[in-house]
């Protein structure tokens, strides 16, 4: 297909100078605020050569942090996906009292500071919290342990999939599901063969955003983690510790890996957008 629209639409008052100034400003901002810091991360990480770089990554504590981050991200994505589908399904396919309240609550984690999210869990599950003492008595540790980190991350990332799915599913309506029902499909068949394929791109998009946020979350996790090296340090926390210890090469090595993971997610997201914009998908 060829694009018939002209590359530059004639905007009112647009002169060559205006265009050049705007373009220069945009490029300068991107360069200064995005590319330069990113480049600095990699430059700093490699400042003592590849040997020191890999040494930083091979450190047992660093590897534990990488593993923990991947684990937390994987759990968050899975929980988020399940919750997002359930919430979006409930909101768009049924009418029930309190529906608008549910929609409002889905957005809560976006409006609450992550630090508060962390504190909520400390208040609930901490040694002096509401249900913490009972849990600790039964041998379940949440705060300063992996479950707390997972909970805090899940809280912070909860809206991502649901928020992608709700508008998509609202736009699609109930017609497809109803017609599948008349054709004799069961609830599960409708879900897996009709609904899920219809929203797969939106769901995947939400999952990628959720994944990016889960890997990078600092505030909420910082409150509940307790910073036990090799045990409850995620990558962002580990980077901070290394940095505070003036271990710049190791700090930036882990940071560069985290940045690479984020860039990879971003690339996937762009690829996804290219696919979904193609009408013959």
């Amino acid at each position: 297909m060829t694009l018939l629209a002209p590359r530059r639409s004639p905007l009112v008052g647009e002169s060559a100078t205006t265009r050049r100034v705007l373009l220069a400003l945009a490029l300068a901002a991107i360069g200064l605020f995005l590319l330069l810091p990113l480049a600095t991360v990699f430059a700093e990480a490699l400042s003592k050569g590849w040997g020191a770089y890999f040494e930083g990554l091979a450190d047992p504590d660093a590897r534990a942090a990488i593993r923990l981050t991947l684990l937390v991200a994987a759990i968050s994505v899975a929980v988020n996906f399940a919750f997002g589908i359930a919430a979006a399904w409930a909101v768009t396919k049924f009418d029930f009292p309190g529906k608008s309240l549910l929609v409002t609550f889905i957005d809560l984690p976006f409006s609450v500071s992550p630090v508060i999210a962390g504190l909520i869990y400390v208040l609930l599950f901490g040694a002096h919290g509401l249900i913490g003492p009972w849990l600790i008595a039964h041998g379940v540790e949440v705060i300063f342990a992996v479950p707390g980190i997972v909970l805090a991350t899940v809280f912070v990332t909860l809206p991502f999939v649901a928020r992608e799915l709700i508008p998509t599913m609202e736009m699609l309506g109930r017609g497809d599901e109803e017609v599948a029902r008349t054709l004799g499909a069961s609830g599960w068949q409708i879900f897996f063969r009709v609904t899920l394929p219809n929203v797969k791109w939106a769901a995947l998009y939400g999952v990628l955003l959720c994944n990016a946020r889960a890997m990078g979350e600092f505030g909420a996790v910082s409150v509940v983690s307790g910073h036990l090296r090799g045990q409850t340090d995620t990558m962002p926390l580990h980077i901070e510790i290394l940095y505070n210890e003036y271990n710049f090469v190791a700090a930036f090595a882990v940071a560069s890996l985290l940045a690479l993971m984020a860039l990879f997610t971003l690339a996937l997201k762009s690829a996804l957008e290219a696919v979904t914009e193609n009408p013959g998908r």
Binding site: G175, E178, V179, N198, G280
Partner: protein, 326 residues
Amino acid sequence: MRIDIVNAVKTFKGSERPAINGIDMTVGDGELVALLGPSGSGKTTLLRAIAGLETLEAGEIRFDGVNVAGRDTRDRNVGFVFQHYALFRTMTVLDNVGFGLSVRPRASRPSKAEIRARARELIRLVQLEGYEERFPAQLSGGQRQRVALARALAIDPAVLLLDEPFGALDAKVRKDLRRWLRELHDRTGHTTLFVTHDQEEALELADRVAVINAGRLEQIAPPAELYARPATPFVCEFLGSVNRLATPAGAVYVRAHEIELVPPGTPEARAAIVVAVRAAGPRVHVELELAEGGRVEAELLAEDFAATGFTAGSAVGAAIRRTHAF
């Protein structure tokens, strides 16, 4: 299969007026019946209730004499075609048509090859050979409608329910599909109910037309009878253009084409003045001011009007050939 609708009532939450309010009617085995009415009259709600997509609050729907109240949509074996087709956008035409067979319980599910063969057969029936591997987005409105119909026919439904099947199509395609649907029905013999707000469509296509207004059945009759002997003022006004005349005995209704223009002073004709003349293709709408008061519209062939020699401002006689009183 025969469908009996017995005193069906349905009120939507938050609405004071019932969407359907005590409808009684029967659709005979193999019959093609139109549900005709203005938008919001409850005809789609009735169709959805037959499919089990809405639950009645009172009354019954019986399939061959058996109340289906407790039967879920998926067990009713109805072929439902939605106004906007609701084709599965992620599936090819072939998979769309085969869907109903592919979701059957394992014991009664045909093999993959059999499903494909049956789907191909139906695609041929709706004249879409060569489009099997296309996606819905790559089809025109009329083609999508036919895929939706083939998909509904694939489950060998006991009844075919069509909700404004041609509503979203342009006039030419509507006409073609209408004729085609009639032929298809005559060939397959499915008991069919279709919803429309287009009187021409209903009168041309259906064996019987059920006129629905404000949740109630006004009349159900074959098209010719409906037109010749409307049972209520609503039916009379809804079909064709109608004049309402006040008489000492109450209101009577006169169809526009049942007013003839004659020279002024003709016995039995009412004195009138031609107020306006509007040409609409082969026909002319002539607006008349009656000497006794009130305006009526007459409709006649353009050449007939030209032969009378009347123009706007002429004094004429309006001979009323036929009236309907209730």
